[in-house]
């Protein structure tokens, strides 16, 4: 399984020379299975450059949305696979008690916000409420669990050949905790992330910034590191970078956390284009 980061930014795309190192595209991660299966985690603006790499022989792609905030779906209408006749495109998203996923996505993928209606797309598009449990996509084991973030939001764990990638791009497990991290059974995302070979986790804020954003659904980098340590992750990748943070700030945040604590795992700054082979 190969994991490639196509968009690491949170909240809003932040292109420009000052963010070229970590990247300006919003959340999108490619997970490529051993048999060539393609799972795409979130459809932020990073899905557009990913589109350019699609194999012409590809017959199926699965897009797994963590939630429907704009920075995670903004690229969906620009995913080239949607315009490829006959390509099976499966989009998975968290369930709602009121509206089907199609109706919720159609709020964006329809005029006046977008010129094309979903029903006019030439691909074979299927939308699924993601099961809040273990399921399988093309032989890859997937688990989705609701996690702490405003509105229904899931994280994903993908297992293949004994290796696991966990994706928690928008996650505030420290919210309301008296002492963080709490016991494992009272920690959001614990089961999903336990023992992950690679944990891609929300690290939007510095500790100082987090104080002013409690309840916004995101983590400070030290909280994310504490979470990674709690779940015994083998490697943690920073993600969902604040659009106000340029490359120098992001590099300094990672350096600071590396210096502050001796950790039993590596903390890697999540940069657009990075690939991790598991």
């Amino acid at each position: 399984m190969d994991v490639t980061l196509w968009g690491t930014r949170g909240s809003l795309a932040a292109p420009g020379p000052e963010t070229a190192g970590y990247g300006g595209n919003t959340s999108c991660v490619e997970v490529r299975g051993a048999e060539g299966q393609l799972l795409i985690l979130d459809a932020g603006t990073g899905i557009r450059p990913l589109s350019a790499t699609l194999d012409p022989e590809l017959r199926r792609v699965d897009i797994l949305l963590t939630h429907l905030h704009m920075d995670h779906i903004q690229g969906l209408g620009f995913f080239a696979g949607l315009y490829k006749p006959g390509l099976e495109v499966h989009v998975w998203g968290p369930p709602s008690t009121t509206l089907h996923l199609r109706d919720r996505l159609a709020r964006y993928l329809s005029p006046p916000l977008f010129p094309v209606q979903m029903r006019d797309l030439p691909s074979r598009l299927t939308l699924h409420d993601v099961p809040l449990s273990d399921f399988e996509i093309e032989g890859m084991a997937v688990r989705a669990s609701l996690v702490c973030h405003p509105g229904p939001t899931v994280g994903y764990r993908i297992n293949e050949n004994g290796k696991s990638a966990v994706y928690l791009p928008d996650h505030e497990p420290a919210l309301g905790a008296r002492r963080f991290p709490e016991d494992a059974d009272w920690t959001s995302g614990f089961d999903l992330a336990q023992g992950a070979d690679i944990l891609i986790h929300d690290t939007q804020y510095t500790p100082g910034e987090y104080v002013d954003h409690i309840g916004w659904g995101h983590s400070s980098l030290p909280d994310a590191v504490a979470f990674a340590e709690k779940v015994a992750a083998k490697k943690m990748v920073t993600f969902h970078h604040d659009p106000q943070h340029d490359d120098a700030i992001l590099a300094r945040m990672v350096e600071d956390v590396r210096r502050a604590t001796k950790l039993p795992f590596s903390v890697i700054g999540g940069t657009e284009g990075a690939t991790f082979a598991l």
Partner: protein, 134 residues
């Protein structure tokens, strides 16, 4: 122990900040948390009491109706919320962990998660009169 559903985690965190007594039960009926104000009503700190399995709750907390007559456990608000998945309210007496009988108003409601998942119940206690020696 497996991780609790996010809805229970957030309910526990919410309860931990409230000044009203709150009791939280998991889907299988275990008492998994009560907050600090509830400790005064239930008669023991949660850190000391710990989680309590469903099958022991009826013996740990004896209950009667307001006038002291026998009360069927199925009519307790928390059991209605848990088993019938609807809100309920009742004034009744119960013997707390410190051995005192207390008269309480109890309101309970089920915790229903996205995707039709029944996750447990929340009960809020209001002590009507101070405890009397049992």
């Amino acid at each position: 122990m497996p991780q609790q559903p996010i809805e229970l985690i957030l309910t526990r965190q919410w309860a931990s900040y409230l000044a009203v007594p709150v009791w939280l039960m998991s889907e299988n009926g275990h008492l998994v948390y009560y907050n600090e104000p509830a400790e005064a009503v239930l008669g023991r700190r949660f850190d000391e009491a710990g989680e309590m399995p469903a099958e022991e709750l009826a013996t740990i907390f004896q209950t009667t109706s307001e006038d002291g007559s026998r009360l069927d456990s199925d009519s307790l608000p928390v059991n209605i919320a848990l088993l019938e998945r609807r809100p309920a309210h009742l004034r009744h007496r119960f013997r707390a962990l410190d051995g005192q009988w207390r008269l309480v108003d109890v309101s309970a409601f089920p915790i229903e998660g996205q995707g039709g998942r029944h996750l447990g119940a929340v009960a809020i206690f209001w002590e009507v009169e101070p405890g009397a020696e049992g």
